[in-house]
Amino acid sequence: MSAETAKSSTESDVSGLDYEETELKLGLPGSSRIAGSELERKRGFSETVDLKLGGSGGCNLDYLTAESSDTRSSGAGKLPANKAQVVGWPPVRSFRKNALKSCTYVKVAVDGAPYLRKVDIEMYGGYQQLLNALKEMFSCFTIRNSPNNNERRLVDPLNGTEYVPTYEDKDGDWMLVGDVPWKMFVASCKRLRLMKSSEAVNLAPRAPQID
């Protein structure tokens, strides 16, 4: 079936299908570019959504999963800050995703406190959120940023005692919370301990990388 025949029959059989919109050519539809010219600006999804197939039809287009509505500027290969997740992308099988997700409830102990709590660390998006949650949980604490701004400590305002969040990893080693990328922390943390900072001297931090 030649392209020519197809074109003419689609025009007559399918009402409302605008020929010019769907004409085969290189270039953004609806633009008056010469075929074959360089595409300078990549078309963002919000623009593609506006492509009219002719006629109203009353169909909603919101099934197109949310993409960043900013047109990606050329050259930027970085991930946008608030990327809405696209269904089924990247193409990782659910089986794999689930297999890597282990039970992420860990016990939290505080030096000197007689009780333990449990948190699901996977619920949090990063270290700051986790610390906020710990602060809420042991409601006596406030968070103090240390001078080099990379460590965060919890302080009991009543007696000024500083606590350093530490965790035990899969190898059985005790580490400072914040030393490794968040996702690696989630995968390897077995339990948390808020250690008095006076006792935390043995845990020399490597280059802390809290965002």
Binding site: D13, S15, L26, Y63
Partner: protein, 581 residues
Amino acid sequence: MGGGGGWVAAAMFPDEVWEYVFSFVEGDVERNAISLVCRGWHRIERRCRRRIFVGNCYAVSPQTVLRRFPEVRAVTIKGKPHFADFNLVPSDWGGGASVWVEALAEACPQLEELRLKRMVVTDDCLELIGRSFRNFKVLSLTSCEGFSTAGLASVANNCRNLRELDLQENVIEDNCSNWLSHFPESFTSLISLNIACLDGDVNLFLLERLVSRCSNLKTLRLNHSVPLDRLVSILLKAPQLIDLGTGRFSADSRPELLAKLESSFAGCRNLKSLSGFYEAVPAYLPTIFSVCDGLSSLNLSYATIQSAELTKLITRCKNLQRLWVMDLIEDTGLEAVASSCKLLRELRVFPFDPYGAEHVSLTERGLVSVSAGCPMLRSVLYFCQQMTNAALIMVAMNSPNLTCFRLCIMEPHTPDYLTSQPLDAGFSAIVESCKELRRLSLSGHLTDRVFKSIGTHADQVKMLSVAFAGDTDAGLHYILSGCKSLKKLEIRDCPFGDKALLANAAKLETMRSLWMSSCYVSLGACRLLAQRMPRLNVEVIDEQRGGQLASRPDDCRVEKLYIYRTVAGRRSDMPACVWTL
């Protein structure tokens, strides 16, 4: 050959002679060719075909197949479209195995092997299999669902000659934790057991007893519930294993366990393939050093271990042909692989954190190193965050013998990060250089130009996956009017629409299937296509809007479209969200 002329092939020898000759020809394509030579051969061939592959369970009815091939012994059937793996296909779409198992139960009591992929398999199916086939030997279920461990129990109970039970990435309900006990004490025929996808606990005592008495066991893949200390005793009972999938590969640091594990691995002199490594810790990796030299396949894709430790292990595997690993290996690790694993044929690098914004030190450089260092490289699956045309061109030059190239740049529309250009040039180089490429998956910022190259050069490509690419219908037109060997095409989120589809309707009958989702295909075009092509099923899938498709106007956009050739007509088991036009 055929009706005319003096020579009638079949009359030269008795049927049995031809059957014997044909028995040396096993491939489907060749058997199909034999059956087209003349009526005589068609008749003889069909009566002696033993293996059947059904790539799409809806392309043909079970009755048609079994009428033509009554002596079949081994059947492989695939159900749902590939994109079902990524949750793009509604869960009730179809792919039920019952209709096939029932037909087989009735017509083929001599069936020995059944392999199902992406199908819905019920416990009733499994029970029917157990009851119907006296000499059943091989059951392989991949990416299936709908059954439970109770179903497995009935297989264990009934299939007294079972050699292979292979469960890969299925979703299995756990309602019978002692299903292994249903293998009778007298049962010893197992050669291959893969239960890695089981979610729950496995009765370790029963497992060890089973392993003990099946002295021909060559493949054993455990699930995460089997702890390291039990692995020791299992390996001591099955030192003949060729293919091992470990359970949980972590424990507290215990010197005596380390020593025992190391010693039990050392006793397995035939190990060629290792997998599993769930929740692996670096401390226990050295226990497998003694088998590294003999390994041809290593799957570390569930091991959340950092690059240095991974590298220490992999570089010992000088004879490795297949490596599956997570991007935690980083570029440095892959460079080490390139230096050490000169026989590498297949590399798969999976993302540790697909949704994270964290920068992982795995870039295009790792891929280029491996392609430069490993001359036998044939198959690549690579997830990464950045790519350049230059890197792809280098891969194309270094690895012209690639048969499978699947690149997933995780952020859609990502251009060449150095030049900001689309990755057209890179992928074009791949298809121009790799003349034996059979499978290709694209990603990154791509314009219609790359599809022109693909259409022109990708002569051997049978399966093409496209996502977030292209500008206009020209892209799809280039693919469908080119790509001589194309059988499966799956497209998502591309601005492709009606024109290319309708212009190339005939092509669709030469293919197994076409999937298009979140594209610009209108309902009208689908109606037209269905009207013109009676041997295609044009399925429109619409989960959100409900209601009747018949009343919708032609210019309504179709959310998901699945088109496949069939001689079975429209199927009768469609759920509410699927319409065949």
